[in-house]
Symmetry: C2
Amino acid sequence: MTPLSPRQQQILDFLRSFIEEHDYPPSIRDIQEGCGISSTSVVDYNLRKLEEKGFIRRDREISRGIELLGARGRRTRIVEVPLLGTIAAGQPIPVPSSDRWASEAEDYVPVTEEMVRGRSNVFALKVRGKSMIDDLIDDGDIVFLEPVRHADDGDRVAVWLKDRGEVTLKRIYRENGRIRLQPANSAMEPIYTTADNVEIQGRFISSIRPSE
Amino acid sequence: MTPLSPRQQQILDFLRSFIEEHDYPPSIRDIQEGCGISSTSVVDYNLRKLEEKGFIRRDREISRGIELLGARGRRTRIVEVPLLGTIAAGQPIPVPSSDRWASEAEDYVPVTEEMVRGRSNVFALKVRGKSMIDDLIDDGDIVFLEPVRHADDGDRVAVWLKDRGEVTLKRIYRENGRIRLQPANSAMEPIYTTADNVEIQGRFISSIRPSE
DNA sequence: GGTTCCCGCGAACATCCGTTCGGAAGCCGC
DNA sequence: GCGGCTTCCGAACGGATGTTCGCGGGAACC
């Protein structure tokens, strides 16, 4: 439906690479030079065509007022999630209090917004050790959690088990008075305990296993 | 480490919201108006401060030549990884041939460059089913693989087991004539087989477990 | 008081940059 | 041929925009 002339395709490619490199759009004369075009009016003409065909959006009278559109031009945004520490057996996780939230972050993990979509105040923890291997969380993984105190049945939550002095990450179910903590690996046995023994420290949002 | 004056914080917030809205950076006078500042030189002064402190990068003499930097002054790029299909028990994975590589991708998964760093031709597969639960790969996970035919001992590889008609993801070790495939979960038993029964289809790079 | 530094103000300047206009070459269908 | 359409060219206009300079207020310090 959209026949693109070679010149228009060339300009579109240049737009993508320029934005990739600079993080801001090129000026008309940047495009002119980058594509070897002899006149700015040619650039303007073809930009109008690209706008008609729905590949870009232009803000008139504004320098560099070009916005890439379309499925391939869609912009994936990055969220910098505060890395608050490590999660390991035998230690409570450093849940942030609302007043001093990201201020004490030692680092930030940049992830695409899909990883935390919709959730607010998400924080990250690096997993140390293999204590949560039954929950499909390996040493070196990074988990993203939402700081909540309560959860619904079936939620994956990070819970502090008081009697064991251990934090783990399991699905939680309330069953007539007691708590069932179900590992993600269904071949493993669930933990049964009482409500006053567990303390919910966060809800699992997502996780990544970085390249080694 | 870097105390930000209220004015500088205000400008930084404005920068973020402006770019969020327009996809291109504001001009000095946009900032001036948006922050209620009476002179462009004040904006310039504070932008210099923000650059010194590593929050932005400026291209001098260039309109809207402002680039937002993330934590630690680094810039995170996004890589669009082609999603070539699913990986499930009983099916070989759709390894790309070099000639028709990304052309048949049904979709693309945007991830931060850390997830594929350095590797080329990385492709993504969505995991269906729990057949690889012993390798800490859950239903719904997305794994990123590098298309290789050979691997070193200890590499995590996706292998096609001919006798089982199954693909799995394990660490590979060659032990005097036979092959040991070690699950990531050390509580699980390894698979022993012969070299001619396994076909390496890719090397594991990283994986993500998206939010539900 | 004097000095220094941070921060803000206003104006002016030179350039950057989007826009516009006249013209022309090539192509297609009638 | 002829009209219409697309594409390209060169130049000029005017507004947009980054930069610079002098000045001043206020706080901290000696």
